[in-house]
């Protein structure tokens, strides 16, 4: 006798649906994300890099500022896995230490920029009467000259920040603030453009017809659909923030010269490219891997949060 086929009876179907517990949007997204292989690898890499900078110094005890001219510009070796710089300082230790600052600045500044940009863009795109003033405000910020603005901000705020938070945290807050406040504009323009387009779609009309209020429509309905440009901006922004921080340092407007952020190490190494390329390759690789993994995580997130991709 053949095995009885599972009959598609009404009760079967019902049981099938009931035994699966209800899932929230985020759990669903996480489950979807996990299926994206590249994103998972990227997540792993990013976590590894973060661990590298946070825990690394606890395991690798070579100090970051021991000057030893006899060891200068030596390539990777057992004693110095990443090699040494022109003062004989160990590059691995410096990359670990500075990486904390670079990653922290990169992620925090971008979060600030995205938050500001998305809020302003959403409000401008959704509310017609706010569009003009907010976009002119954006135009103002786009026209601001970064360098003199930085000089003024530093002139006005550095000492009080330094007094309130101590030299390191004070400068960190200032740099994150400056980068965040000067890079939100493209995000705002992009989000607004998406909102202008999506606002006219049927699902918004539908939501309104069942009585959804503006805030709910913005946050729960439209915003999840504008994620893709925002995520791209975020991934590009992290690399940009890390590099902007290095530009600030070499202009003398950022962290003190002895804080070895990745961008700063790259900058110090630039004239030794033909003599000691290892000096630039390692921090460059660190930045590259960070930015690349954030990108693939972003890819995974876009897929995960895209309602049309659920299987």
């Amino acid at each position: 006798m053949a095995a009885p086929a599972t009959e598609m009876t009404k009760s079967n179907v019902l049981v099938g649906t009931i035994t699966r517990p209800p899932r929230s949007l985020w759990k669903d997204a996480w489950w979807q994300f996990r299926r994206h292989r590249l994103a998972m690898i990227a997540l792993g890499t990013l976590l590894l890099l973060v661990a590298f900078t946070l825990i690394g110094p606890l395991l690798y005890h070579t100090p970051i500022d021991t000057i030893d001219f006899t060891q200068a510009l030596k390539g990777p070796s057992a004693a110095h896995p990443f090699g040494t710089d022109d003062l004989g300082r160990d590059i691995l230790a410096r990359a670990m230490f500075g990486g904390r600052v670079s990653i922290a600045v990169g992620i925090t500044a971008v979060l600030l920029a995205i938050t500001l940009g998305t809020s302003i863009g959403a409000l401008a795109g959704f509310f017609g009467r706010l569009d003009n003033p907010l976009m002119r405000f954006t135009d103002l910020f786009l026209s601001l000259p970064i360098l003199p603005l930085l000089l003024v901000i530093i002139y006005l705020f550095r000492d009080s920040l330094r007094a309130a938070f101590g030299p390191e945290l004070g400068i960190f807050l200032m740099i994150v603030g400056v980068i965040g406040v000067l890079t939100w504009m493209p995000v705002a323009r992009l989000v607004r453009a998406s909102f202008l387009s999506l606002k006219q779609k049927e699902f918004v009309e539908a939501a309104r017809s069942i009585g959804a209020r503006d805030r709910r429509i913005i946050v729960k309905h439209i915003l999840p659909n504008v994620l893709s440009p925002v995520l791209v901006a975020a991934t590009i922004g992290v690399g940009g923030a890390i590099l902007t921080e290095s530009t600030l340092s070499f202009l003398g407007l950022g962290f003190p010269p002895d804080v070895p952020t990745w961008g700063r190490i790259l900058f110090d190494a630039r004239n030794y490219l033909d003599i000691a390329p290892h000096w630039a390759i390692f921090p460059g690789l660190c930045i590259f891997l960070t930015v690349l993994s954030i990108n693939f995580i972003g890819d995974g997130l876009t897929d995960a949060l895209n309602p049309r991709k659920t299987s």
């Binding site: 001219f69 200068a72 003062l87 030299p167 003398g252 407007l253 003190p256 010269p257 002895d258 003599i275």
Partner: protein
């Protein structure tokens, strides 16, 4: 009041003395003479092609009296010349408008040092063909002296009563009072002679609108062809140049921009340029480039440039309006045992390693012991042993013995005062490396060092709180240099020159140093006529500054640090005038 007025016998008297001792010379340079005395010509005019010069700061104006930096005074020098130039041994040479250098011996300088008579060379013509006369010289002087012109070279006219044309080719310069520094006006970058005709309608406040600022008519070997401010100047031969056999190169391309490292590459690695100016590049990058180069070689000469650390005698952390004011005292540099702390800092300063590692020990600098340097008569030897000693352990012991005990955080403290130092300088790879090295050593001695680097544009201004003038840090570091006569330079450490809020931090004594003995020496120096006595005074002033640890010299830097093409010949650098002072002699 002014620094170079009144009865002051400068090194010029020293020249006099040495001139008298030497057989029948006029005190001109004894170095391979670049003067156009019809020397056996190795070339003829126009034999060469294009001369490519690269500066990493681009010229922005070609009138030397509106120059805002070396780039402008150098680029204008190809066309606009002074009466004479400062040669390599800090003595004037007659390679420009003057026929010979006036001295007391040849009657050019009056016995009481009040009058100097300059005779112009015969048959001098401007590049537009008209004749050069003494009127042009007199006109240039009055143009500069006029306060409405806001000329940047005005300082050298202080104390000059008049400059008059006695006849078509003779100029008489008269000082207010006997001035042994009688070459004060007329020699060097301060005193390029402009054509009266070109600037006659643009005197006073109109000077800045003069088209001659961008295309001056001059007597130099070249004339300006095109000028794009901030970018490039192109020159062609001045057909009316006085020596028919010079210059060698048909055209000159004077380009600016970029940075020193890539300029070095252009000179040594690609041979794209013939003259790359001021290669302030760390030895670790420069030396390999030079050693492996087939296209270029290094051209250096020492002058008076010293990279030094200044110590703040006021309190940079005093609250409110009192910050950095001379009425406050620095907690440990100017405390009861301030000299001990300062000496300890100096003892823990490793200038030899800095000179070796970053300046290539002779490549672009050597360990610096004196603040007045470059002229043998003024070089003090009393500071040598102080300079040679570097001992971190001894420094630590010095502090410990004085009661500065090591705290749990590794910083020495006494009576609640910690040895916390904020150390500022400009953004520059060599300086940042120097800072890193100093920090390591000083922290071993028990100081705590925080580093700060400031962009040059905000460092060298009296309006910036990060600036050298405000000096709101404990120590700062930069380079400065002096004229052959150091009186005005030394004046920068007198009490009257203390920079403070009331004078908008404009004066030169950034250290807030006040020493009556030092002030007295400078007063004497202004009046002293005897050369030997002057030398003693200068050395004494130097010794006070060094031994009292007001400044810590680190490296005596080369004044000229340029990369030139291996095929470029005839270049004799001087540490006291523009690098372009004798460009008519260059050839390939």
């Amino acid at each position: 009041m002014r620094w170079r007025t009144t009865l002051a016998v400068s090194f010029s008297a020293v020249i006099l003395a040495s001139a008298c001792a030497q057989p029948g010379t006029t005190g001109t340079s004894s170095a391979p003479s670049p003067s156009a005395a019809g020397s056996a010509a190795a070339f003829k005019r126009g034999d060469g092609g294009e001369l490519k010069i690269l500066y990493w700061q681009a010229p922005t104006i070609l009138n030397p009296h509106q120059a805002t930096g070396t780039k402008d005074s150098d680029s204008s020098r190809l066309a606009v010349e002074p009466l004479a130039s400062w040669g390599p041994d800090a003595k004037p040479i007659a390679n420009a408008l003057a026929k010979e250098i006036p001295t007391v011996a040849n009657g050019g300088v009056s016995a009481d040092f009040t009058t100097v008579t300059w005779k112009l060379k015969d048959g001098l013509k401007w590049s537009d063909g008209s004749a050069v006369t003494a009127d042009d010289v007199a006109f240039t002087f009055s143009l500069i002296k006029d306060p409405a012109s806001a000329a940047t070279t005005e300082d050298n006219t202080e104390g000059v009563k008049s400059v008059v044309a006695k006849d078509a080719s003779t100029v008489v310069l008269t000082y207010d009072a006997p001035n042994p520094n009688f070459y004060q006006w007329g020699v060097g970058t301060c005193c390029g002679i402009l054509q009266k005709k070109q600037f006659a309608d643009f005197t006073g406040a109109k000077l800045k609108d003069a088209p001659g600022n961008l295309k001056p008519i001059g007597t130099g070997p070249y004339q300006v062809d095109t000028f794009k401010p901030g970018d490039v100047v192109t020159y062609t031969i001045n057909p009316n140049f006085r020596d028919p056999n010079k210059p060698f190169f048909k055209t000159v391309n004077f380009k600016g921009g970029g940075d020193a490292e890539s300029s070095a590459r252009a000179a040594f690695q690609t041979g794209d340029v013939d003259y790359a100016w001021n290669l302030q590049v760390t030895a670790g990058v420069l030396k390999p480039m030079i050693d492996s180069s087939t296209k270029g070689k290094m051209l250096t000469v020492y002058g008076s440039s010293v990279e030094r650390i200044l110590i703040n005698f006021s309190d940079p952390n005093a609250p409110g309006d009192q910050r950095g004011e001379p009425t406050t005292k620095h907690p440990f540099f100017n405390g009861a045992d301030g000299l001990t702390v300062r000496k300890a800092l100096a003892l823990a300063t490793d200038r030899k390693t800095v000179a070796q590692q970053f300046y290539g020990n002779g490549l672009s600098g050597k360990p610096g012991c004196n603040i007045i340097t470059g002229i043998p008569e003024f070089e003090s030897t009393a500071t040598q042993s102080f300079c040679d000693s570097f001992d971190v352990t001894a420094a630590a012991k010095m502090l410990d013995d004085a009661g500065w005990k090591l705290g749990a955080d590794g910083v020495r403290a006494k009576g609640g005062v910690k040895l916390n130092i904020l150390y500022q300088t400009t953004v520059n790879a060599v300086r940042q490396n120097t800072q890193a090295l100093m920090k390591t050593n000083w922290e071993k001695a028990g100081f705590k060092v925080e580093l700060k680097s400031v962009p040059a544009g905000t460092f060298f201004t009296n309006t910036s709180p990060d600036g050298a003038n405000h000096f709101w840090s404990d120590i700062e570091m930069f380079t400065n240099n002096s004229d052959p006569d150091p009186t005005s330079y030394l004046n920068g450490w007198t009490t009257k020159q203390i920079a403070q809020k009331s004078n908008n931090w404009q004066t030169g004594n950034y250290n807030r140093y006040s020493n009556a003995e030092f002030d007295g020496i400078i007063d004497q120096l202004r009046k002293e006529t005897d050369p030997a006595k002057r030398a003693t005074l200068v050395k004494k002033a130097n010794d006070i500054l060094i031994l009292d640890v007001v400044i810590i010299p680190i490296v005596t830097r080369t004044q000229v640090t340029s990369g030139i093409s291996s095929t470029l010949k005839g270049v004799v650098p001087t540490g006291w005038d523009s690098e372009m002072y004798a460009i008519q002699d260059w050839y390939k």
